[in-house]
């Protein structure tokens, strides 16, 4: 019987395991399906990681390496090349891998840190033929950065998420011609700095409020047709642009990989597509915690690390000190807010304050983030600008939410 089994050895799982060790747990197992630890960071060879957490600019593999080194100083056990198939409500973890075969390990607590996967062509229903040369930006990133293959020479990118922007620069540096980055929304889903250093640096045009309306080609992509869309995201006839290209990269969103949650009967939030969590990252199953991109998709690994450290410490507290108690207040999203994490807060289990993460559903200029309980205004926070592509966070002191009955609502009010 382990004190803690962590499912996933990416940045979330690594930080959670180290934190649980530092909080006093001594029998911890990380199960990772890849051959080595580090998760998706290993293929993110660009820099910009760690500015918040380490106060320096690291590449993805370097960031992962920092945590692998920290892990090496602990007694945490690691099983790579091993796939978790099931986590049961009584915390039996079913796994299989060539080294051990099929095994069932029991744990006093479990942390789900499986990360997310990319949305594919099927998920967005792009019309056209089915030639080779249509792939997700993350798959292209793996080919170029890890395997050493160039997936194409003339490229159109659909979606302006960060991976798409990063790959626009990467493909250009490796000698490909990136003809356009096409975004269906009127704003980019990526970080502003990536628009600047990945598109503008290389003169790659960004077409907002546009989408791909046809993919042409028999064995290989030959042309991609791009059309302007109206405010309801419907293509406008007569606005077609035809690009001669051999590759279409998709950067159209990430989805938490929650198959294990579903099989375990853990309550999911349709807004985040991850588990509903309490203030300590605990799911609806007592003793089962979750952190990182399987909980809600982050923009920055630094925030994944911080969230996962809280999950690790909470798992240790659960094992050593017993289950969290007390009534929970639901957190609800008001105007312009698309979700909050956590979704529920037990004030009795909050030490000093609770960090609430959320995204807005449209670009807001100078605004106030307002926290209310019924008619009562609990707190307000000023921001100069909020964008859907950049996760926001506020800190609610324990005193503020103690004694509140009913739901607490987070909303954004734009000035003027």
């Amino acid at each position: 019987m382990y004190d803690l089994i962590v499912v996933g050895g990416g940045p979330a799982g690594l930080a959670a395991a180290v934190s649980a060790w530092d909080s006093g747990l001594r029998s911890i197992l990380i199960v990772e399906r890849d051959r080595e630890l580090g998760g998706i960071l290993n293929q993110c060879i660009h820099n910009g990681f760690g500015l918040t957490y380490f106060k320096e600019e690291l590449t993805g593999p370097e960031y992962a390496h920092r945590f692998v080194e920290l892990l090496g100083k602990t007694g945490v056990e690691v099983r790579t090349d091993t796939m978790v198939l099931d986590v049961t409500p009584d915390r039996k973890v079913h796994m299989t891998g060539p080294a051990t075969g099929y095994r069932i390990e029991e744990a006093r607590s479990v942390i789900l840190a499986m990360g997310c996967r990319e949305r594919t062509r099927g998920a967005i229903g792009t019309p056209g033929t089915r030639p080779a040369g249509v792939l997700t930006a993350g798959a292209a990133q793996r080919y170029v950065n890890v395997e050493g293959f160039m997936p194409g020479r003339r490229v159109v990118i659909l979606g302006s998420g960060d991976i798409g922007l990063i790959m626009a620069r990467r493909m250009t540096l490796e000698g490909a011609r990136v003809l356009a980055c096409v975004e269906v929304m009127p704003y980019s889903g990526g970080l502003t700095r990536n628009i600047v250093q990945c598109l503008e640096d290389f003169g790659i045009p960004l077409y907002l409020s546009h989408t791909v309306t046809d993919i042409r080609g028999d064995r290989r992509v030959e042309q991609v047709v791009v059309s302007r869309v109206d405010e309801r995201r419907r293509p406008i006839p007569g606005t077609e642009m035809v690009f001669d290209c051999d590759t279409l990269l998709l950067s159209v969103g990430l989805i938490p990989e929650t198959e294990l949650n579903t099989r375990a009967g853990i309550e999911l939030d349709p807004r985040t597509k991850g588990a509903v969590v309490y203030e300590n990252m605990e799911t609806s199953l007592p003793g089962v915690f979750t952190c990182g991109n399987v909980t809600h998709v982050h923009d920055l690994v630094d925030f994944v690390t911080q969230e996962s450290q809280r999950a690790g410490a909470a798992a240790a507290k659960y094992v050593l000190g017993g289950a969290a108690a007390g009534e929970a207040i639901p957190l609800e999203n008001g105007d312009a807010v698309s979700y909050t994490v956590p979704q529920r807060v037990r004030p009795g289990n909050v030490e000093k304050a609770v960090d609430v993460f959320f995204r807005v559903n449209r670009i807001c200029g100078r605004s106030e983030i307002v926290v209310t309980a019924g008619e009562r205004r609990l707190a307000a926070f000023k921001r100069d600008r909020l964008a859907p592509g950049e996760m926001e966070h506020i800190t609610l002191p324990k005193a503020l939410i103690t004694g509140v009955t009913g739901a607490v609502t987070v909303s954004v009010k734009e000035a003027g």
Binding site: R35, N42, I45, H46, N47, G48, L51, T52, E57, T59, P61, E62, H65, V68, V144, N145, V146, E147, G148, L173, E174, G175, L191, T192, R193, I195, V196, Q197, D201, D299, L300, R385, E390
Partner: protein, 115 residues
Amino acid sequence: MRELVCIVCPRGCHMKADDDLNVSGNLCPRGAAYAKAELTHPTRVVTSTVRLTGGTYPRCPVKTSAPIPKDRVADLMAALNGVEAAAPVHVGDVLVKDILSTGADLVVTREITEA
């Protein structure tokens, strides 16, 4: 007056700089430094990969240890085609000192073991 977005950190401050390089809109001093550099001699840290022999992967990720002039980025990418590393490699290994006389070293960014 020039408008620019800071790329130093993910906050992405929207800044303005006048002809005398007085910067406004930055939330930290690094933004002002970036704006001045960007308008006088823009630089970038370059990350890429080089060929790796004998390792568990065929490519070894690398970076320049410091920002290099933006107009040397293409030269650097061409130079990387001639660089080869041999496994095992470790984070921080210097593959080329003072690459292209930029003052920056080419360093390894990932641990890769022998196959």
